[in-house]
Amino acid sequence: MLDRNITNGLAVVGKYGALACYVAFAMLPLYWLLKISLTPDQLVFTEGTALWPSALTLENFQSVIFYSDFMAYFKNSILVSLGTALITTLVATAAGYAFSRFHFAGKNLIIVAMLLTQMFPLLMIISPIYKIFASLGLLNTLTSLIIAYTAFNVPFATFLMQSFFDGIPQDLEEAAMTDGATRFQALRKVIFPLTLPGLAATLGFVFTAAWSELLFALMLISSNDTMTFPVGLLTFVSKFSVDWGQMMAAGVLALIPSCLFFIFIQRYLVQGLTSGAVKG
């Protein structure tokens, strides 16, 4: 605002240029996805490198929407993702809060344990996990996915939430508690509203992680009724061909909820929430 004209102008041009590059990079594969989904089957390969096909079709979308189980898969995915996002965020908020505000015995051990869960290839332990879920009778349920996703996402979400909590002056909580709030009330009424960017980011991550997760979804779910959409996508890759058009159409459709979710959460990614809170 206080910049001088020329450098200012250059900076603005540079900024928009950089943004354009990012957008282009992010959108290119997505654009290609869209392009393929709109290209009639016969042209997919013959006009492979063209930026825009000579003919368009909505057939792929139609068949995905009306003649496949994808809408059911979407529903399942949304249930699972929302459920996971909410539960994970709750659990991780509690844990992140404990990490941020307390010193206690075993803290480092717990941190290491949480890190460990992220370090071992899940593939290697999927079979004991499968057994546990089987013995709990949870196979083929969306609950099993929510539990598994929550468990796997909690460590990261916890660390994320911790670093957001760390950024909030402890004074505020203390003020709330002298005002007579229980820790939970202080958390809910004072800390949460100030952690909104963090909560939004965490929700966003967990949602998308659950949204696109494949391994657990593949392993724990066999029945068509509870299948989520990434597994559904796999069915387009059969042994003898890939139905690119429909697969990409399904992929494009799958982006819509995520896109909406991002638009929804970004209103919480706002600046300067804590300004004016404390002096010093």
């Binding site: 900024k15 950089a18 943004l19 990012y22 957008v23 990079f25 992010a26 290119l28 594969p29 997505l30 290609w32 996805l33 997919v44 492979g48 490198t49 659990v91 509690a94 717990i110 949480m114 890190l115 460990l116 992220q118 370090m119 071992f120 290839p121 899940l122 593939l123 290697m124 332990i125 999927i126 004991p128 996990i129 539990i147 929550t150 468990a151 796997f152 909690v154 990261f156 994320l160 670093s163 957001f164 760390d166 950024g167 980011a201 966003g204 991550f205 696109s212 494949l214 996508l233 697969m247 992929g251 799958a254 982006l255 995520s258 991002f262 990614l269 600046q271 929430l273 804590t274 300004s275």
Partner: protein, 321 residues
């Protein structure tokens, strides 16, 4: 603290000895709940992680000391460190370690730097911010299978534009598929992974950026800091905790993440894109040697632990707040 007399209220208080002992008990109870409080908050997380991941993880690690094949319960047996000994002579394992290192290094560094740049850009004001923000975050929401297929598609000169563009720019001598070139193949999944991972850093860092108090920048302005100095001396230190945690986790994930590679190159050509986790996968599910795969996984785990320890140490030194 055990001596009750130390808790006597002053002499003028009314009969203190009488109601002192029950209060003391109450105090102790409270201190117990004080002590337990953090564990209470942690318990759901610990329970979930313990049951769903840690227990299986212990089982998984125990495989590495056994000879074990997935479908053959009768052929298992404890064999001590044999699996680990075999690692030393396994040329493929060594190649995979090397590839894992480069794969992780390139992916993490590039997506971190680009993500940080994006976060900084998004932290300014510009037109159409909402839309652009939503768009650039989208890659994170694309399932890895789909992104792998799409990128493989884009790299294919028959059906994708990239080789032609790269050739036009003179980066490639002729439009060919880099996924089939053993010197370049790793860059295919790396690009895909960077594409996929930028939003991760952008979002976390953006959220962290937004919690930097504005008056820090004002103070730095007054102190005469240039934009670059503001960035290095204010922004980075404030972001440091977040950077430490995200870089650490992302490194771990990427080192463990074989989906893209598996779909795009299958570890090939000729093992040139084989990383530890894809090697673990083929050993476990193709060679069906779970024991050996688990030993490789344990090595990966140890490497990651070492890395995390170093990073945590550094974080402690660097992060003051």
């Amino acid at each position: 603290m055990t001596d009750m007399n130390t808790h006597l209220p002053p002499a003028d208080a009314s009969d203190p000895t009488k109601n002192n002992s029950p209060q003391k008990t109450k105090g102790l109870g409270l201190s117990l709940s004080y002590f337990l409080e953090p564990y209470l908050y942690l318990s759901p997380a610990l329970l979930l992680i313990g049951l769903v991941i840690l227990v299986p993880l212990v089982i998984g690690v125990s495989y590495s000391f056994q000879s074990i094949a997935l479908l053959q319960p009768f052929k298992t047996g404890w064999i001590g460190l044999d699996n680990y000994r075999a690692l030393f002579t396994d040329a493929k394992f060594l190649v995979a370690i090397k590839n894992t290192f480069w794969w992780t290094l390139y992916c993490v560094t590039l997506q971190f730097l680009l993500g940080l740049g994006l976060a900084m850009l998004l932290n300014t004001k510009f037109h159409g911010k909402k839309l652009i923000q939503a768009l650039v975050f989208l890659p994170w929401a694309v399932p890895s299978l789909l992104s792998a297929l799409t990128w493989a598609w884009l790299f294919n000169p028959v059906i994708g534009p990239l080789p032609h563009w790269l050739a036009a720019l003179g980066i490639l001598a002729e439009p060919f598929n880099i996924l089939g070139d053993k010197d370049l193949a790793l860059w295919g999944p790396i690009v895909a992974n960077i594409w996929f991972g930028i939003p991760f850093f952008a979002i976390t860092l953006l959220a962290a950026l937004q919690s930097i108090p504005a008056d820090m920048y004002e103070a730095a302005d007054i102190d005469g800091a240039t934009s670059w100095q503001r960035f290095t001396k204010i922004t980075l230190p404030f972001l440091a905790p977040m950077i430490a945690i995200t870089v650490m986790l992302r490194t771990i994930w990427i080192a463990n993440f074989a989906d893209l590679i598996y779909v795009m190159t299958g570890g090939g050509p000729a093992n040139s894109t084989q990383i530890l986790s894809s090697y673990i996968f083929t050993t476990a599910f193709r060679k069906l040697d779970f024991g050996y795969a688990s030993a490789v996984a344990v090595v990966l785990l140890l490497l990651m632990l070492l890395y995390a320890a170093i990073l945590l140490k550094m974080r402690k030194k660097l992060v003051k707040v």
